[in-house]
């Protein structure tokens, strides 16, 4: 008996267990790190014979399920800062809209893809290396050494963010910040996400950790909350304008990803913040290396279909 199923919008037949497995793997990473996993899932689906545009749109639909499942799990653990998430979301929407216009201008100038690929590799490289080294140093230090020194003078960045107006408390994250900071950072991540064509989870997580100084566990839950709304918007837009959401593909992926997300969320509770960061950094660096190889090695065919991340 064959376990293949025909996907009406993708226009292809794919093995059911392959899709459940892919969903489970990416959902696990989503629950563990608070990333959507689009940067992993779309290339994997393309390898399975799904057209790039359908892979990207249906992936957004399955991320809605995985992030609902994982946000709920993190909410139960008290790891979602709704106030911070809402500010980042507003900034992300503004930045995303601006980023889409920016990419249109770059495309008309003919060098959009160069900018996209280079931004991808540089961002992944910088974020991955920084997170990896910083977490490694923290893990090597003794608990006493990692304790903050009360008398130490605050850094220039800390003084700058304290100087911003309308300081507000974010009790869930344990920080006091101006709402302008998450709004501005949301805009920045939104622009990058639009240029790179991804949800932006793997940029948002380091921004929350290093720029907003939020604890890693709250970062994961809050990032998932923000991704949920971004992907709802993307799914509806893709279904209405491009007709590229394959509901059967999305259901199979989300059956795997919602289960995977639960296991990921449970494991994230058992791991220390620095352990989480070092694993995420390794995944990010792995994707960066894979992209770099794709940029250096000659492709098998010099023509490709449009679309995808």
């Amino acid at each position: 008996m064959s376990w293949s199923i025909y996907l009406p919008i993708a226009g292809n037949s794919v093995n059911v267990f392959l899709l459940l497995g892919l969903g489970g793997l990416v959902g696990f990473l989503s629950g563990l790190f608070g990333v959507g996993g689009g940067f992993l899932m779309t290339p994997l689906l393309m390898m399975a014979g799904i057209p790039p545009v359908v892979a990207a749109a249906s992936d957004s639909n399955q991320i809605v399920a995985a992030s609902t499942s994982a946000t709920y799990a993190h909410y139960r653990m008290g790891n979602v800062d709704f106030k911070m998430g809402l500010l980042l979301l507003i900034g992300g929407v503004v930045g995303g809209t601006f980023g889409v216009q920016l990419i249109k201008v770059l495309r008309s100038l003919g060098n959009a893809d160069f900018v996209i690929k280079i931004t991808y590799v540089v961002m992944l490289g910088v974020v991955g290396f920084y997170m990896f080294l910083e977490s490694l140093q923290n893990l090597r230090k003794s608990p006493a050494a990692t304790r903050p020194v009360e008398s130490a003078r605050p850094s220039l960045y800390a003084r700058a963010i304290r100087a911003l107006p309308w300081q507000m408390e974010f009790p869930k994250s344990g920080v006091t910040l101006s709402p302008l900071l998450p709004l501005i950072l949301g805009v920045f991540v939104g622009i990058l996400a639009a240029i790179m064509g991804v949800g932006g989870g793997f940029i948002m997580v380091p921004v929350m950790v290093y720029m907003l100084r939020m604890p890693m566990h709250v970062v994961v839950g809050t990032s998932l909350f923000q991704i949920l709304f971004t992907c709802i918007n993307v799914t509806i837009m893709q279904a209405v304008t491009n007709h590229t959401v394959d509901i059967i593909l999305a259901i199979l992926l989300l059956l795997g990803s919602t289960v995977g997300a639960q296991f990921g969320a449970r494991l994230s509770r058992r791991l220390k913040g620095d352990q989480l960061k070092i694993i995420l950094a390794s995944v990010v660096l792995l994707v960066m290396v894979q992209m770099l190889v794709g940029l250096i090695v000659s492709p098998h065919v010099m023509l490709a279909y449009k679309g995808g991340h």
Binding site: S2, S4, I5, Y6, L7, P8, I9, G11, N12, S13, G49, N61, Q62, V64, A65, A66, S67, T68, S69, A70, Y72, A73, R76, G110, D113, F114, K117, I232, T235, I236, M237, Q238, A239, V240, H243, V245, I247, I248, A250, I251, L254, L255, T258, V259, A261, Q262, R266, G294, L295, I296, V297, S298, P299, H300, V301, M302, L303, A304, Y305, K306
Partner: protein, 258 residues
């Protein structure tokens, strides 16, 4: 215009219309018969591609070429090139006049015939196609080669010499038969089967038939919903995702609490 002339034209046009609407799935001509089995394919949940058998009775001593062609449409593709030592998309290419499917089988005797290449197969196909957009410096030829390679990798294009095999022979005719494997990514629509009968590289006769592929069952319903009620479809996709996410979340939470 005289009434008699109008009458003659009306009868002729009506005759042509009747001929067009009543084209059968096989055509029998003087010495050749072309058969396509099945002539209707249904794409349902379990569709994994299909096998189409073409058979024809051709004059003894003749050779045959069978082509399966899908409807032509514009393909918009990205050309890969090197910039600063890195491979990336360097521009968009529009391919016009390319059939969605192009599969060719020939009888053994035609496989190495010098004249067939120019009239059938990729060389002939290239003459019917046009490329525009980011054309490389080496010209359209390289682009066409890459286009064929892309389509071949999807199983939509292919040349299969010697795949039409003689199965029976009578006094005047030989029956040739070939099987075409249609991949699961073949699009619904009408497909034309063209049989060309040749003798010493010269075309003796050409016949055509059709088969159709349509989407039925759940895939047909969902595709229709996605294209005709897109907002409802998008909303349903989101609601299903949220409900599944919540149900899984609650299931796991209650399991974890025990």
């Amino acid at each position: 215009m005289r009434a008699g002339t109008v009458y003659v034209w009306t009868v002729m046009l009506f005759g042509l219309f009747l001929q067009a609407v009543s084209t059968p799935n096989y055509v029998i001509a003087a010495g050749t018969a072309l058969r396509v089995e099945p002539n209707k394919l249904h794409v349902s949940e379990s569709f994994r591609g299909a096998l189409v058998t073409i058979s024809a009775d051709i004059p003894k001593g003749a050779g045959a070429i069978v082509e399966i062609e899908g409807a032509t449409h514009d393909d918009r593709l990205l050309r890969q090139g090197r910039r600063g030592g890195l491979w990336m998309s360097v521009g968009e290419v529009t391919v016009q006049g390319a059939p969605s499917v192009y599969l060719v089988e020939t009888t053994p005797d035609l496989a190495s015939h010098p004249d067939t290449g120019a009239q059938w197969g990729y060389e002939a196909l290239q003459k019917r196609m046009a490329f525009s957009g980011a054309i490389p410096e080496d010209g359209v030829g390289v682009l066409f080669e890459q286009f064929v390679r892309l389509k071949e990798s999807e199983g939509l294009y292919g040349l299969f010499p010697r795949s039409l095999k003689p199965t029976r022979a009578s006094e005047n005719h030989t029956t040739v038969e070939g099987e075409f494997v249609l991949p699961s990514n073949i699009a619904p629509g009408n497909y034309r089967v063209v049989l060309s009968v040749l003798n010493s590289g010269k075309l003796l006769e050409r016949q055509s038939a059709e088969f159709s592929i349509d989407m039925t069952g759940l895939p047909g319903f969902l595709a229709s919903l996605a294209y005709h009620h897109a907002a409802l479809y998008g909303l349903a996709a989101v609601v299903i995702a949220i409900v599944t996410g919540f149900v899984m979340g609650i299931l796991f939470t209650s399991k974890g609490s025990h």
